[in-house]
């Protein structure tokens, strides 16, 4: 049988492929995920690109995004704390405290629903508007000042280059299209989606075949965590350790809001009035105290704990909250009657608590919190006059 020389067939295809790929918009984004982790779902209107991630990183760390140039996204989402801020409640530019604790941004690309208590907030691009422009509470304080914001950005030569690279189509439509809430939030959302954490000692133990990557204590803690006494894994399950997940191999996104019985102010399940969970938005009293399950990856770095940062340490979370069928179980009002059925309380020894904490510590991903790709690109963040 006669054959065409392979090179003759291949060359035109290779040249065509190179031409197609060399356009930056067509370059496939490299997620840098280990082979066992399924890829996140990209929003149809905001596919990932390295250029958007890089622009988003500059914006994320830029204090010019706040009213008085004092705060950036990174003020409350600090890399060394797995993108939390170490505070019970976060403060905005007016020093007004919000009512909830800053959540970790590790693996937010996998979340179908964001934040502690808003089931309707499902896109990072939309969520970004809350800290930027929110007035209750004021966070970055930019409400009504978006023109000023875009003028600040446009005046910086570095941004002119970054925006043009990230949004070539918008760049062709002029400055108004290029410097807009749409491009701003798409870039910040893209950077947040790039914050992937799957390189903890536990990952090396469970998925990397390194039997000694975690301690004997952590292995005992793993058994308790996945056991029916503590029931932790029912909500903190899956490879992101939360029951809120969406990815390319999971056609139906899952969400999990739960009442863990932290409060029971009136004996009938009430939470503090400024923090009633999703019932604030659903209007349904049965939803009292339900908050979204946070990831436990890097949890050793994200103290203090719970939606209002009201528990300082993991030891206390286990002993003083979950072991008591919810912290309210230890108060005169008793356990919250509306808590999740899985919050039943348990007897636990100090050794067992130590073991569970050792397991939780094994979920800390040092390469994530030190990854230069996630760090401040400005050196010293510039301020506008």
């Amino acid at each position: 049988m006669k054959r065409l020389p392979r090179s003759l067939v291949l060359w035109p295809a290779l040249v065509l492929g190179w031409v197609l790929l060399s356009g930056s918009a067509l370059q496939a984004y490299h997620w840098g995920l280990p082979a066992w982790v399924p890829r996140p779902v990209e929003p149809a209107d905001n596919p990932m690109s390295a250029a958007k991630v890089e622009l988003g990183r500059h914006l994320f760390y830029d204090q010019r995004l706040s009213a008085d140039n004092s705060m950036s996204c990174a003020s409350c989402h600090q890399q060394d704390k797995a993108f939390t801020d170490g505070k019970s409640l976060s403060e905005g530019v007016t020093k007004e405290k919000g009512s909830r604790s800053a959540m970790s941004l590790a693996n937010v690309a996998y979340l179908p629903v964001l934040t502690w208590a808003n089931p309707n907030l499902t896109a990072l691009e939309v969520q970004a508007l809350v800290p930027l422009f929110g007035e209750h509470p004021v966070e970055m304080g930019m409400a009504g000042r978006e023109k000023e914001l875009f003028a600040r950005l446009q005046a910086d030569a570095r941004y002119r280059e970054l925006f043009a690279k990230a949004f070539p189509a918008e760049a062709n439509q002029g400055a108004q299209a290029l410097y807009s809430l749409s491009t701003l939030t798409k870039a910040i959302g893209s950077f947040q989606r790039s914050l992937l954490s799957f390189d903890s000692p536990y990952d090396r133990y469970q998925y990397g075949g390194q039997k000694d990557a975690i301690s004997a204590s952590a292995k005992r803690g793993e058994a308790l965590f996945f056991g029916e006494k503590m029931e932790c894994y029912h909500c903190h399950g899956g490879f992101t350790f939360t029951d809120n997940i969406r990815h390319q191999k999971l056609p139906l996104a899952e969400q999990g809001f739960h009442n863990t019985g932290l409060y029971n102010l009136d004996g009938r399940g009430a939470y503090p009035a400024n923090n009633v969970g999703i019932s604030e938005l659903t209007g349904n009293p049965d939803d009292m105290g339900q908050f979204r399950t946070p990831t436990l990856r890097n949890v050793a770095l994200t103290a203090p704990y719970m939606h209002d940062g009201s528990i300082p340490t993991l030891q206390q979370v286990i002993r003083e909250h979950y072991a008591q069928a919810g912290r309210a179980g230890n108060t005169p009002a008793g356990p919250n009657p509306m808590r999740s059925s899985l919050i039943a309380g348990f007897e636990i020894t100090q050794q067992e608590v130590n073991d569970v904490v050792a397991f939780l510590n094994s979920l800390t991903d040092e390469s994530f919190v030190k990854n230069p790709k996630h760090s401040d690109p400005w050196g010293k963040a510039p301020k506008s006059k």
Binding site: L4, P119, E222, F226, G238, E254
Partner: protein, 293 residues
């Protein structure tokens, strides 16, 4: 290029050759309907007269895995249904039947529902159906976090060692118990009660390694001997399962309701109604979960 053309031609020829002799296949759909004591199941709806205390319950989840579906011939032989591999509800010979629609108290569920097993069988006359409630052992103990759909739903994780929840039924009940004496309001949730069926006593090296076997597989295999797929529906009634249970209380120190684990006083009436032995005691009779109409 030429090779490709030849390959296509060969395939076409092969197809022509085999068509006349290939057995004809039939697309089939086995339909399910959920109910509570005869009333259609709906998220957030209140059902009265449930269990020994005639309690009222408001369900918040109802899903189950069905596997190894076979159609029965007149002579009693069983022909496996080849499930369509849809990438969502069905994988190999397992399907997730999902009655909840994410509405109201089912919020932690999914909007999409699935009430049928779809697949194909060799064309022929079939008079009945056999199915298993549960996930086959070979698929039940893999790492669920990296499994394909529908075996990667975190809601259906049992644990890595024990496999999946074969049935997940969650509800609140209106009764007052010693555990939860204070009712938020007359209609509101007081006791949370669950029926989670799964394999127990599975021996393995660690909680996240696959076991070699389970003492209590707890898979329910049910035959409906006179079942016409075109006309009949498999009825799944949790009210019948709870008939001898007290849904207003939970045995102290045990999982809420019955989660299949041993030494739970809430379990004997539930497991018996599922037709499964529990703690060494055989079921009182046949399963009462599935019937047909």
């Amino acid at each position: 290029m030429k090779q490709l053309i030849i390959a296509v031609a060969a395939l076409t020829l092969a197809a022509c050759n085999t068509v006349p002799t290939a057995p004809k296949t039939a697309q089939v759909s086995l339909n399910f309907a959920a109910q509570i004591n005869g009333q259609p199941f709906a998220c957030g709806q209140r059902y009265d007269g449930v269990g020994t205390t005639r309690s009222s319950i408001t369900p918040s989840d109802f899903r189950m895995y069905v596997s190894e579906v076979k159609l029965l011939r007149q002579d009693g032989s069983a022909v496996p249904v080849q499930m369509a591999q849809d990438g969502i509800w069905q994988h190999q010979n397992v399907a997730l039947i999902d009655f909840e629609n994410g509405i109201g108290p089912c919020r932690n569920g999914t909007t999409a529902t699935n009430t049928a097993v779809r697949g194909q069988v060799p064309a022929g006359d079939y008079v009945g159906v056999e199915l298993t409630v549960g996930v086959p052992f070979a698929l039940n103990h893999q790492d669920p976090t990296v499994a394909p759909a529908p075996l990667n739903s975190t809601a259906m994780f049992w644990n890595w060692q024990g496999g999946y929840k074969f049935i997940k039924f969650d509800t609140t009940s209106s009764g007052i118990s010693t555990d939860k004496p204070a009712a938020p309001n007359a209609m509101g949730p007081v006791t949370r009660y669950s029926v989670h069926l799964g394999s127990t006593a599975c021996a393995g090296d660690s909680k996240t390694q696959a076991p070699s076997s389970c003492q209590n597989p707890n898979r329910m295999t049910v035959r409906l001997n006179q079942f016409d797929l075109a006309k009949n529906t498999v009825v799944v009634d949790m009210g019948a399962v709870l008939a001898q249970a007290n849904v207003d209380v939970n045995a102290k120190g045990t999982s809420p309701g019955c989660m299949s684990f041993l030494k739970d006083a809430d379990c004997p009436p539930v497991m018996s109604a599922l037709g499964l032995a529990y703690d060494g005691v055989a079921a009182a009779g046949a399963q009462r979960l599935l019937s047909q109409r």
